[in-house]
Every structure is written in structure tokens, then in C-alpha cells.
Symmetry: D2
Subunit: 340 residues, 4 copies
Amino acid sequence: MTERATTLGVAVIGTGRMGADHVRRIHEVTSGARVTAVVDVDAERAKAVAARVDGCTAYTDPAAAMAAADVDAVLIASPGPAHEATLLAAFEHDLPVLCEKPLTPDAASALRVLEAELRLGHRRVQVGFMRRYDPEYAKLKALLATGQLGRPLMVHNRHRNVASPPFFTSTMLVTDSVAHEADATRWLLDHEITAVTVLRPTPSANAPDGLRDPQFVVFETDGGALSDVEIFVNCGFGYQVQAEVVCERGTARIGDGHALVTNMAGRWGGTISQDFTERFETAYDHEIQAWVDATRRGEVTGPGIWDGYAAAAVCEAGVRALEDGGRVEVELAEKPALYA
Amino acid sequence: MTERATTLGVAVIGTGRMGADHVRRIHEVTSGARVTAVVDVDAERAKAVAARVDGCTAYTDPAAAMAAADVDAVLIASPGPAHEATLLAAFEHDLPVLCEKPLTPDAASALRVLEAELRLGHRRVQVGFMRRYDPEYAKLKALLATGQLGRPLMVHNRHRNVASPPFFTSTMLVTDSVAHEADATRWLLDHEITAVTVLRPTPSANAPDGLRDPQFVVFETDGGALSDVEIFVNCGFGYQVQAEVVCERGTARIGDGHALVTNMAGRWGGTISQDFTERFETAYDHEIQAWVDATRRGEVTGPGIWDGYAAAAVCEAGVRALEDGGRVEVELAEKPALYA
Amino acid sequence: MTERATTLGVAVIGTGRMGADHVRRIHEVTSGARVTAVVDVDAERAKAVAARVDGCTAYTDPAAAMAAADVDAVLIASPGPAHEATLLAAFEHDLPVLCEKPLTPDAASALRVLEAELRLGHRRVQVGFMRRYDPEYAKLKALLATGQLGRPLMVHNRHRNVASPPFFTSTMLVTDSVAHEADATRWLLDHEITAVTVLRPTPSANAPDGLRDPQFVVFETDGGALSDVEIFVNCGFGYQVQAEVVCERGTARIGDGHALVTNMAGRWGGTISQDFTERFETAYDHEIQAWVDATRRGEVTGPGIWDGYAAAAVCEAGVRALEDGGRVEVELAEKPALYA
Amino acid sequence: MTERATTLGVAVIGTGRMGADHVRRIHEVTSGARVTAVVDVDAERAKAVAARVDGCTAYTDPAAAMAAADVDAVLIASPGPAHEATLLAAFEHDLPVLCEKPLTPDAASALRVLEAELRLGHRRVQVGFMRRYDPEYAKLKALLATGQLGRPLMVHNRHRNVASPPFFTSTMLVTDSVAHEADATRWLLDHEITAVTVLRPTPSANAPDGLRDPQFVVFETDGGALSDVEIFVNCGFGYQVQAEVVCERGTARIGDGHALVTNMAGRWGGTISQDFTERFETAYDHEIQAWVDATRRGEVTGPGIWDGYAAAAVCEAGVRALEDGGRVEVELAEKPALYA
């Protein structure tokens, strides 16, 4: 504990829903960090958010914030298309970065960012795959690591939302939603994904016109495993994320969430979260705390640019598979030693 | 209750494990029936089984048993390749039949039997898909029938055995095991299956050499639904059959089996059946009882020859899909009005 | 199986709800028995029930039925106050009896019946404590018998009904409802109950005026264990019977009933039975079948007169404890060797 | 968020297991506070703990720490007998206090502290009943507050530890363990406890010689409810805290903890915590954070001295009930308006 003298000054880039929530989190929940800068192209919004935190300055230009003396680290929560430029600017200042997912919108841009970090010569970027910080996923990963279940053979994933927002497209079921399962599969199994199949049942009557919802996605991995994903973003009944890993000697499942059980009116059971912020609140808290702690030690310990790039490549293959209704192979660059 | 004066005299054809168990069941459990004949090519085995039941005669020829005055109905539990001839003989005597699955070993022979029943002009055959008589499956079917969950979109099935017998082949995972999920899918959804895909992860180290175990099978239906099946016959930990139907407004899952829960040595939980006879004992009892009751009323109420034929056609497509690792369409004859 | 030639002819005494259901059960479900006589003081009702079964005669006098040539055994389902006379008549004919609970309405009359069976010199009576035949209770008993949990220290019981019938009194919560837990405690632990305490929280607003519902009953046993019972007969939400046995090295719980789990409208969970006939249908079937099987072998294997007497003595103490709101000791005669 | 400029300087009194853990928590987890002083009669231990935190001074005298300019609030984690003097000293400095349970060792001393706070004229003390901050208990309380289950009638509590420490006495099962259920009952129901009964089954063979373990405690409340507690501190299998509230229209249960479910070696289920720090880690974090937040706003929002006093009075009655094996009434002073 002794080496925690300095408090980390964080610039939060983007003050939309996610960015504003991270400002609140660092201000109220995270130990050892404070928000010293917020950045948004909308100057008024930036000012309004900055006003909530003592000693926090509002900017419209990320580079200006990164040049400030009280900025030690950067949290990127702007829209995906803006990430590449912001990441490259952070590399120029050699600042540690926590970058919300997606790293960038496609595999080619993710690869450019990866090459820039390679030129920098050390890892600076953690990508916001926060499920790795969820206590249930962490227990699942820890159990697999003991080896007592044997080698993983299959993963069955369920990912359900009450209703999709108006702007949601069939493609976003893959790139926005299943992207989480792509990373979770890679992380849990320590495999890369080599092919994607997307099956398209008749859409639910509750899906907006033209939206292919639900979809059923199957990942194949270089370790010979399968990982299937039910993605259903208009299921109506709640927000639900479940995963069962089937291994040679047993299976392990998370996401049942049996904390409070009632008997009422002819039924036993419990409530289902209606929102990801409730289900994954602790995961977000732990993610930010872990990033702050590692950054203060000068380390990157969480998912990095390679993970962001791999997710982008998988999602690109997934989008093609969705369009075809078939199987598409994933193409990955060779993995650099920096990410070994 | 009044019209139950006569007791149904049943000839059981085949006295292997399944046949002998059905003899015991009818003798000890089933009300309104008695075993009056047993038939086996092995005359000694037939005599040994007949000796356990008063008034039961042993035969080696099914036709001879069917001609006996005290035989009112036939239960076929002989090996699959013998079914076709026995069924045709039963049609000659116009006897009601309960035929263990598979109806016949392939779609072509199933179609011949179907055509023979059509010539007979009325339904006489019930096929032994006993999951339809399992209380949990029955509750699931009943819930779907209420319509409160909306239209079914997907079914997720898990089918796990402790270990496969020595004679089990990769093909039998489809034809012997997944055949149950093929029928369950058709029955639960009231859809026909139109295509089969079989995915083949790297086999478990606990699978016998050369056995492709586990497999992951995906059915597509004429109602636009998907039904996926994890079949894993060397899972090591128990016999487990689970199904979750995902509908437009909710999901329903069976097979968790939480009857007795213990806290012991750092763990809470329950035991898992090691054998299908334990898990489905009640289903077998109900199946035989329902067949006896319907037969005494002169009706066929359970799964019939069309269901046996459809399962055979699906399994044939499944075997080709297993060999290819791809997707194979199912070809079905037109459905006769007799089975509407 | 060989020695099952004769079918047991059963006289059912009493054709109310319970008696009529047992007639149906023996006629439709039970193997190896048939109803040859029904008896009711209401001659019309007896005739109506007899008319549903071929070869069944209606009587108004139990003794006349017992004298009939086709009556081999007696099932008593008449009101409790009539049991003593019927049991003594059955002893005169030396007929096997299955007597619905309670054996008799009080400990003194139960003791007279017990002494009559002692004079007869062999056991003839099984008492209708059907929970001993419930598969979940049977698993719990079997687990305790293995000794792997160590010695039982406490039992926590929950017994909940949707609503009580109009004639239900505060005393009947003890004598009619908790009587089941009294027997279950004695049977699970193999202890006798030595004292009863009844605690009386403020009644639920949903209880009929003047009914002390719920109550909380604590049994002490001669093995130093406690068994507490929540009895709540107007809980509103369902019929629920749960038991957890706390032992030196672990606990075991039954009654959660997780067979079908749904996700719907913001909640996961399952339905709760609304009625004991649904929850304990299999127990009733197994009870009658076991009695028929034992009777045909000339044995009594189930709970006997000693168990019926002990339950009556416990309930009498319970009623006094309810009136006092305190603790009352149970007085039992010495246990005869016949029931060892 | 704006009014959080100043960081709260906390003096932690007592640096044993609990105190040292709170120092770590405030240093690493809690936002808006820092440890500026630690106090212990063991000067070396105080120095060792202080050395882990920048700007933290070690003291041996609580009063000296309270007089320091950088101390804004006091967390008392010293042994119970030292609490009274420390609380009175804090009142002299008018400092906010978070006092670990028990408030003081007995009802008389608790009442003296209560009177001292009354003389101070405003509330300054929060007592460390951290279950009120546990997410599961919070959900249970919130559900009761909606009124949809109706009025609470009974609470069933289970409190199990793997093994008791060597110094544990029969009395401590009441004063140290059941004290949590005393507070939880008062808080969940918003009732005061009026009588305590302690039942003593034969001790487990795994309990140390002379320790009466398990015990079964029944609280009666001024709202006519019962709350029973199984306390079993040598259960062997894990740390388990469960509560079920039975209301007029339904029940609600917490503590099943089904987060990760495995299938392995013939069993399904999950692990049981072995330690309260794992089960209640989040509760401790939330408790300290809530106290820091309220203190910075100049408020006391958590359980106060009245709650600490009431728990002491209940435990005193519980100890007498344990000795008698009977029922003892709880005597409480009149509740001052300050705690209304």
C-alpha cells in the first residue's frame, strides 16, 4: 500500500452516457484517482460535467487535455470512429489509456493502432472488455484455470436485452452485442476464434421491422472448441447474460442470479435485471479500479490492443456471416511478442 | 371407468434389456394389461422371461404369438432391423402396436411401413418416443400451448451421458441419441425439421479413440425456428437432459432437477442421475400406461408412424451432415391425411 | 414376479373425496389389486362409486363387506371417529388394513386399537402417512441413512396451504396439518417426540376470523434433536412442503421443486403447486402399490399402529401447547416388541 | 457531486484484524476519505499499520488522535469493553463515529452512551451492523417496503460457520453471532424484540467440549411476529447466512448464492463461502462508503446508538434464556425522540 502517494489525474474523453458515468465512478467510487479533465466536442456538455467535480477542467480538444500538467492518464469514451485519432495522440504523450470498446470500428484501423503501440515499444492501452472484471466471470475463469474440469470443449452463451434502441441494426447485434461474447470466449478459453457462422431464425414479432432478432452465432476456435451465442435484443423479459463452459470432466455455468427468491401468487423465483448497468455495476467499478491501480504501478494488466483488434476481426467475419447466413473464416495478423 | 372390463393381453417381441424391462413394467406397474406372450429368437431367453409371469407363453416366431387367442396387442422391443417385418405382420393381424424407437433403421423402410399403415386405413402404431410422457417435458409442452410466451424461436438442448458403451459409433450420437431431440423439437414446436448441421469440436480426451464426441447439432424447422443440441456421451459426470425453449416473450427450461439440495464440505447442490432409466422411469411408466389405455379404447394417441418416419429422415440427413461437417437439407414425403 | 397370481380384492370403506380417489387409484393405477367392495353409510353414494368398477359391490355395513368372499383386504377412508370400530371389525376377520390418517382421533383410542392388534399377535395395519412414499422424502431418508452427514441435530419444516377450508379450526392446524410433520420427524430421525411447544404470532389478516394462523411448532425428541414447523394454512400463494435436516456435517433440503423454470416479464422462476394431490400424487400411488404388494406377501411394511398412536399422542400434547402458548411434554406408553 | 471538495480524515481506533482491514478498505477502496491516524495500545502495531499509508500518524491514546487537526471522524474497531470511553471522548470533540459492533458489552453501558449522545443533542454515532449494507439484505428490505407481500409474520434465519475459534463460549453464540440476527430482525421488520427463547439441542460431536452448539433462538416482537435463528458455529461445511421472511401474501428468501453452478462427478451445485469476509465483502465496502458520504454531509444515516443499545438488551435477555433453556422478556428504556 505504501507506494500510492500520488492520485492519478484522469482525462475522460467523451461525456455521453458512458463517459459521464465513468466521471461519476472515478469521482465517487474509485480510490486513488480523480477526474482532472473532461473533453467533448460539445463544449457546453463538457462544461456541465466538469462543473460537478472540483478541480476538473473542460476541453473540446483531446490533445489540449493530454498536454495539461494534471493529466496522467486518459479514459476514452467517445464514439468508436473517434478512437483511432485519440489513441494516436495519447501515444504521442505516452499516456496510459483505458479505451471503451470497440477499440476502433474495424480490423484495419485496429491493426494500425496496434502497429503504433508496437512502435511505441511498450503497452499503454487497456480495452474496455469489462466482463473480465465481473465477479461471476472471474470465478468461471478461475475454475477453468484450476484444470479440474479438464479441457474446455464448448461454450453456450445467452445474451438477452429487454428491447433494442431505435438506431439498432441487424449488424449491430454482431458488432455491438456479440462482441462481448467474442472477447469472453477468447479470454475464458485462451483460444483465438478462427471462423464464425451466423444462423438467422424467423425474427420475433416484437423485433422492429427489418431487424434480424434473434440470431444464433457459432464461433470455432484454434483450440478446436465451439462457442455458441444466442443474441436476442428484444426478448422483453429482462437483461440476462449467461455462459456455460462444457469441459471434458464437467460443466460450469454463470448468470442464474438467484440472490433473492420469492414465493408469491402461485410462483417461486426472482427478478431479472432490466439493464446492463445493474448486472455489471461491480464489473465496471472493478475495471476502472484495476486500471487505476495498474496505471499507478506503470503497468497494463487488462485486455489490450491485441484483444481489441481480434474482436474487430471476429466481428467483421461475423457481419459477413450474418449477410450470407453461413460460415466465414476469421483472418488475423501474426501475434506480436509484445502481447504474448 | 366402467368400460375397463377386459384386461389387455400383450405380446412383447424381444426380451433384451429393454424388452425384459417392459415385461416387468406391464406385470408390476401397468394397470389393465398383462403379458400373455414373449417372443425372442433365443428360445431359452424367451422361456426364462415367460417363466416370471403367470399365464405367459414363450415363442420364437412373432407371427405365432400374434395368432394366439390371448394376444390383443404387440410391444416391439427387438433390434431395429427386425421392426419392419414385425410391424407388417402385426398389420396382417390388425393388432395395435407400441414400437420402440427407431421405428425402422432408415427413412426408406420407415416410409414402407407408413404406406402399409395407410393401406390398412387406420392408425395402429405408436412409436416409443417416451420423452413426450415425461412430466417435465409435458409441463413445457403445456406451457407453450397456452401461448403466453409467444411463438417459439429457438430451442437449446443438452444431452449428456456418463460414458458411451463399447459399440457406440460417431454416427450413433446422431441416430441413437440426437434422435430424441429431433422428436422433442418436432413435438414441442409442432414444426417439421428442414435442415441439419453437425459441428464437430475436437473430441474429448475421455472419448474412446476415433469417436467424435461431443458434437453440436443445429436443426432448422419449417416454422423458421432453430433447435441446437449439445450431444456429449462421455461427459463423465452424469446423465443429464435439459431443454430451454426461447419464445418471443420469455423462455422456459427443464432438466435442472433440484429435488434434494445438500450443503456439504464447502458445496451446495444435488446429485445428477447416472442413467436414463432413473431420469425417465416415470416417462416409461406413463408411456406404457397411456398406450394400454388408448389401445383398450381402440385408439392411437401417442407418436405414430409419421413421427417415426420423420425422425428417420432427420437422422439420415444428420449422418450426412456429420460426415461433411456442414448443413444438409431434410427430405420428407408429403404428410398423409391419416396423420393430420 | 412369479408369485403374483392372485389379484387382491379390496374393500374401500368411505367414499368421500379421499375414498373415491383411492377407488380410482386402485382401479386405474395400482397393479395387482381390484376394488371388490365399497362401503358408505350413504347407500346412494356407495352405489354410484361401485357402478364405476366392474365386479364391485356396494355395502352400507363394513362388517358385511369384510365377510364377502372376494374381499381380501380393507382400505379405511371414512371419518376418523369411525376408524376404531372398523379396525376392530377387520381384526375379527384378520384382514390386512390400510387406514387413512389419523389412526383414531385421540391417543386413548389409538392405544385401544394398538392393544387389540397386540392381542391378535401379528401386525395387520398400515397407517396412511404417505409422505414416507414421496420420492423426495425417500431420498432425504436414504441420505440420512448413509451417515455421511453425521447425526441429525435439527429439522426445519415449512407446511403452507393456499387457503383453509371453512370448517378449519386453530386446533386442526396441529391435529390435521402438523400431524404430517410429527410423523415425518419421527420417521426421518428415528426418534420419538418428547415435548411440543406452540408459538402463536399475530394471525395473518388473510386468516378467517378467530383462526390462529400461522403457528410455529417446535418438537423436542428423545435423541436430543429439535424439529420446528411453520404451519401456515392461508399463505395465499400455493401448496408448499419443505424440510431441511441439519446434521453434524451438513444439511439436506427438499421441497424446492425446480422442475420447470421460466424467464418472463422481469422474473425467473417456476410455478408452485396449488394442491396436495398434485404435489403428492406419486406418493399416494406408491403408498397404495406398496401396501398391495406387501399385503399379497402377507406382510406389513409401512407405518403401523404404533406410528398412528405416537402421532395421536404428539398431537394431543400439541393442542394443549397451542392453548397455553407454551411447552407440553408428550406421554407415550412403552413400545411393544411387535413394533420393534 | 459538487460538494465533495474535502477528503474526510479518519482516525481508526484499534488495529487488530478488523481495524487493520478497515484501514486497508479506506485506503484502497473508499472514495472521499483517507486514514490520517491509527490508534492502538500496542505502539509497535500502530506504527506498522500507519507506515502503510502516506500521511498517517500512529497514536496510543485515542484522545490525542481526536485532537489532531487532520482527524475529522473516528472509526472504532477496538475490543468492546474499550468502546464506551472512546465514544465519550469522541462526543467531547463532537466527532462523527462509526463504531464496530457491539456498541458496548452490555445494555447498561449502551444506555449510558445513549444518554451521552442525547446530552450532545444530535446524532453522531453509526453502529457497525453491516448486514444492512449487504445487497441481498437491501433487496429484501426494499421488497418488504413495497408492501406487496403484506405484513411480515415470521422470519427464519440460518447462521452457520465452519468452525468456532478456540475462545468461543456458549454465551458468545448469542452475543456475538445471533446479535446480527437481532439487528436484522429489528431492521427488516421495523419492530422491537420483546422476548427471547433459546432452545438447546444435543450439541454436535464436532463442537468443542462444553460448547452448546447448535442453538435455536426464537425472538418475539412488539409487532406480533416471530423470528427464529438456527445458530451453528461448527457446521463444518461453510459460512452461510440465510433469511426467509414469511408475510401475509408470500415469502422472500436470501442467501442461496447461486452465482456459479457446476456439474461435476455426479453432482450439480456451487461452492459455499468459508468466511464472512468473502460473503460480506461488498457490505463492508458499502457500509464504510455510506458512512463517509453521510459524514461529509454532516448526517448520520445508518444504525445508531439506539440500535446498538437494543441489540445489547436483546443479547442480555438471550444469555439468560440460554442459561434457563426458556423464555426471557426483553426490557427496553423508552425510545428518545432523537432516534425516532
